[in-house]
Each structure stands twice: as C-alpha cells, then as structure tokens.
C-alpha cells in the first residue's frame, strides 16, 4: 500500500530508502499574508494551508504549535494588548521585568517580534533567574488537536521551544548585541543565567517527551552571527546532551538551519542533530547543497534545498525548473534528503511552483537519482 505524506516524511527523516524524493512544503508566510489581505488565488479562497498543499501534491508542515506551554509559580504574568504591541509584565517577589512584542502582517508567519527585551540591565539577572526557576512546563492540549488536523498530509514541526538555551538568552531574553556585551562585561552572570535556562529547558523536554511528537526542534534561525567560539562552547554540548536524551526515547532532533552557516558547518556533525530543516543554499546563502552534505555526513537528513526567492517572479518558470533539476542532480543519489523551501513560500511567490516541484520530482526525482 502506498505511503501517505506523513509516513513518507517520517520514513525519510528516519533514514529509510524511498522510491522517490519526498517533499514537505511550507507556505504559512504566503498563506497568512494573502489571507490577511484577501489576495489568495480565487481557487484557494476559504481553503486551509494543509488543503492547499495537498492540492498541489506535496507533504505539509504544520507549525507554530507548542508541545508544552509554560505555567508559573509565584510569578504574576500580566499581558496588556496595545495594538500592534502586546506588553507582558512578569511580577516576582524580588522584582519585575517586562517585554514588548510586536505583531505585524509583515512578520511573515505571525510570530511576535520582541521590540523590547526582558533583559534591560544588570539588575534584571536575579529576576529573570527567578522566573526561569519558577517556570513549570505542562503538556499543551492544543498540540494533539493540531496533529489531528494535519493528519496524513504531513507532520508537526515543533518541539519543547524553538531554540537552545544559549540562543534563548541571545535572541529572546537579551537581544543579540546585548548578549555579547554582557558576555564580555559580566561573563559569570551570563553563565549562571544560562545554567538556570538549561534546567528549565530540560524540564520542558521531560514533559514534551511524553507527547506523540516524533521529531523535536532543538535549534532554529541561527547563523554564523552566533559566533563560532560561542557555538562551540555553549551550543554544541547542549545539542549533544539533548539529542542523546531524545534518541534514548526513540525521538529525532531537528534544527531549522536557514541562515548563512558557512563558518558553523564544520561543527554541525558533532551536534548529533538528525534533521537539518529549512536548508537554504546558494544564492540566498554562500553554501551549496554538496557542502552541507559533506558537513552533516551521508546519514544526516537534509530538508530544504530550494531558496525562497526562487519562487519569486524575478525567476522565470524555466529558471525555476532548471534550478530544481540541477538541485536533484547535485544531491544524487538523493537519499536522506527531503525537498523543501528555505525557508518558506514568499508572500508574492507562485503557489503553482509547489506543484511544479511535485511534477519535477515525478520526472527526475526517482531514487536513486540517475539524471
């Protein structure tokens, strides 16, 4: 019996040899933008994302759900909706911190963007440590609903949070530049906060591991900007720990690796991460598919390969087709590869090119690739 899209994607992620290249498409940015502006193609008005991807013949990615949600003990969380911002204040017995999050239709997948971070100055260290120590993760019942909704059409792309502990400090708590200034000025305090963050993320994984999720995000949206020495010291040991934990429970670890990663490539393999998703090669980064394959080894699962901008009208259909055919040639024999976007269908991209990829796979993507 033929595999459904969900089975195909999971089999590929587990390193099984398939008859043809699997394809897991991501269109949320395109879908959300055009839904909000009432500019979806006439045919697809009123459709949900998964149905559109199914109609194009690809496997689906269901995103922005969480396996765990955080609850708090002795921390009062007050949210104020001040459109387009949401201000969140965290009140603890030893002080308060707050953050300001912007929700905008240009922020693609409608995730919030923190315009003011929780950490503002040295005085915030103990308060943030307190919040992390008093964070109690619980299973999010909405996860099962989302998983049921995507059903046989695809898989859930989530985990116990999107980022590693160091990246949560860097990106979510402090902001990129402040993190590096703090690491230079107050390294002991940064490392103490990082240890507290690690403990919290471990608790999140201990809860999340009880879910039905098969592949867990352990890192996302990093790039060479992370700084190679920081990646070596603070990221790799964590990835090794958490992938070992996931593997011991029969689960896989995945990274959302759509940035410029030339300088980090030599360290990818030792992270232990299984799936390198949203992979974005030349021309949006400087790295080729071959270079990533050499970096992650034959057993590493690469998911991606088609940069977002290829879906723009600046590339003709002929150029698009030629890119996809060349990519298939480049990745031959094609095992341990899932075709996908790096990282999304752009808001003004052509949805019909999702279907073109399906057709090109039928024509050229039989495994092992022999064109």
């Amino acid at each position: 019996m033929a595999m459904n899209q969900r089975q195909r994607l999971l089999a590929a992620a587990n390193g099984e040899k398939l008859d043809k290249l699997p394809f897991g498409a991501r269109i949320d940015l395109w879908y959300n933008y055009n839904s909000a502006h009432d500019t979806l193609p006439e045919k697809y008005k009123g459709w949900d994302q998964t149905a559109i991807i199914r109609d194009q013949g690809a496997g689906a990615q269901s995103r922005f759900h969480t396996v765990v949600k955080d609850t708090y003990q002795n921390v009062e969380v007050i949210e104020k909706n001040i459109p387009p911002y949401v201000e969140t204040e965290y009140k603890t017995p030893i002080g308060s911190v707050s953050r300001r999050t912007l929700f905008t239709t240009t922020e693609g997948p409608w995730i919030g963007y923190d315009t003011e971070k929780m950490f503002q100055s040295e005085k915030d260290y103990p308060v943030i440590e307190y919040i992390l120590q008093h964070t109690i993760p619980v299973l999010d019942p909405n996860f099962n609903k989302a998983q049921t909704a995507v059903g046989e059409d695809g898989i859930m792309m989530t985990g116990a949070g999107r980022a590693s502990p160091a990246q949560r400090l860097m990106r979510d708590i402090m902001g990129f530049d402040r993190f590096f200034y703090e690491l230079a000025d107050h390294p002991v305090k940064v490392e103490s906060l990082l240890e507290t963050m690690k403990d919290m993320v471990r608790r999140q994984h201990e809860v999340a591991i009880e879910s039905d999720l098969e592949i867990y995000y352990v890192g996302s949206n990093w790039s060479d900007d992370v700084h190679t020495p920081v990646f070596k010291k603070y990221f790799i040991p964590w990835f090794q720990e958490i992938t070992e934990f996931l593997h011991s429970h029969g689960k896989l670890a995945m990274a959302h690796a759509d940035g410029e990663n030339r300088r980090l490539l030599p360290f990818f393999k030792e992270t232990g991460i299984d799936v390198w998703e949203a992979w974005t090669p030349v021309p949006m980064t400087s790295v080729t598919n071959t270079e990533l394959r050499n970096a992650v080894g034959e057993k590493g699962i690469i998911w991606g390969g088609i940069p977002s901008i290829l879906f723009e009208s600046t590339y003709s259909n002929e150029e698009f087709d030629q890119y996809v055919i060349n990519m298939i040639k480049e990745i031959a024999p094609g095992y341990n590869f899932i075709v996908g976007m790096g990282d999304n269908l752009p808001f003004d991209g052509d949805i019909e090119r999702v279907g073109r990829i399906v057709e090109l796979i039928e024509k050229y993507g039989k495994l092992p690739v022999s064109i």
Partner: protein, 215 residues
C-alpha cells in the same frame, strides 16, 4: 604622530575599557582629535572589516570593536566643534517600510561611521518618502537600504522608484542588503551596489564615492 599602536590595537581587539584612557593619553601628548580619528580609529576599523571579510573575525568581534571606537568618539567629538568630523561622504541608511529588524542595518551603520562616513540612520520601518526627504535634506551621497524579510524586500524597489520620480536617482548611489537580498536581486531592482556584510558595505561605499567623483 607618535606611536599610538596601543590605541589602534585596543580598537581592533574590542577592548573598550582601555580605549578611553588611551584616547586621553593621545590627546595629552598633543595629537589632534581629527588626526586620532582619521589616522588611528578609522584605519583600525578598516582592519576589523578586513578581518571579518577574511573570516578571522565574527560579527560579535565587530560589535565589540565598534563599541570600543564609540568610547573614543565620546571623548573626541566634543573637541571637533570647530573643524567637524572628517568624512568620506554622507550616507542615509534605513530598514525599508514594514521591516522592524535592526541588527544588520545597525552593524552596517557602525561600520560606515567607523571608517569615516557621516551616517544618517533613519531607523526601521521607514516609508519611501522619508528616504527621499532625508536624502534631500542632508544632500547625501549614498542611500543604504536594508530588508530582512521576503515580505519587505520589494520595498527596496519602490524606494528606488520614488527616487526616480523625485528626479534624484542620478544624484545618489544606492547600496542594498539584508538576509533575503542577493546580488542579482539588487541588480534586478536597479540598485548600484550590494553588500553582504558591514565590512563589505564599508569597502563598497568607498568605491561608490570614487565612482561618484568620476560621474
């Protein structure tokens, strides 16, 4: 000038805590503020840019160097009231409308300032007409446009069109960059140049100034 290699080295190594003292020492030995900037600080930042482009330095190294340089400028700028800062040219820079990401643009601003450009940073989420107004008001030589999202990338093209409509396109060089922006895309929307990072932006802007002189 005397040997100020320690100051230069402190900038290159991002040792901000040492820079203030070394800058004061340089002033005390009779160095002119504009010479400290043009002969020590700006060459040091050029070296930082080269180290980044060659792969020796990482983005945080540039951040630390820029912070160190700002420590020196805090002391030197008030002393330049009469002569003004030595400048390679004026650059108006900003992130296009709808885009609120600032890190990449800030790094480029810092680098351009570091090597000697007078940078007018308009910030993020800037409407097309604000770029045009700022260029007119400041009589700038170069416009730097940043987009970090595929959703906002097309605004680079609309700003360039707005420049054309305002009859200003031939008066200003346009350099663009940002995560989804490629060299091909820059050409496609009619920009004069593309830069992948702050170090490259500084080098390319110097070339654009040379090209302006030749126009």
């Amino acid at each position: 000038m005397a040997d100020y290699s320690l100051l230069s080295q402190a900038i290159i190594e991002g040792k901000g805590d040492q820079v203030a003292g070394l800058t004061s020492e340089a002033l005390n030995t009779g160095a002119k503020p504009q010479d400290i900037i043009s002969k020590i600080l700006q060459p040091a930042m050029s070296i930082v840019g080269e180290k980044f482009s060659s792969g020796e330095y990482f983005l945080p190294d540039m951040l630390m160097a820029a912070r160190a340089m700002n420590n020196a400028l805090t002391i030197l700028k008030p002393l330049l009231a009469d002569t003004g800062m030595p400048t390679l040219g004026k650059v108006v820079i900003g992130t296009v409308k709808g885009d609120i990401h600032d890190i990449g643009k800030n790094i480029v601003s810092t680098f351009l300032s570091g090597v000697g450009f007078d940078v007018i940073d308009l910030g993020e989420d800037i409407p097309d007409n604000k770029f045009v107004e700022a260029l007119k008001e400041n009589q700038a030589d170069i416009l730097g446009l940043c987009a970090m999202l595929t959703t906002t990338m097309p605004s680079i093209g609309t700003v360039i069109k707005a420049l054309e409509e305002a009859g200003m396109r031939s008066k200003v060089k346009v350099i663009v960059g940002g995560a989804p922006v490629t060299r091909d895309y820059a050409t496609h929307v009619g920009a004069d140049a593309y830069a992948h990072d702050g170090g490259e932006a500084a080098r390319v802007c110097k070339e654009l100034m040379t090209a302006r002189g030749a126009d």
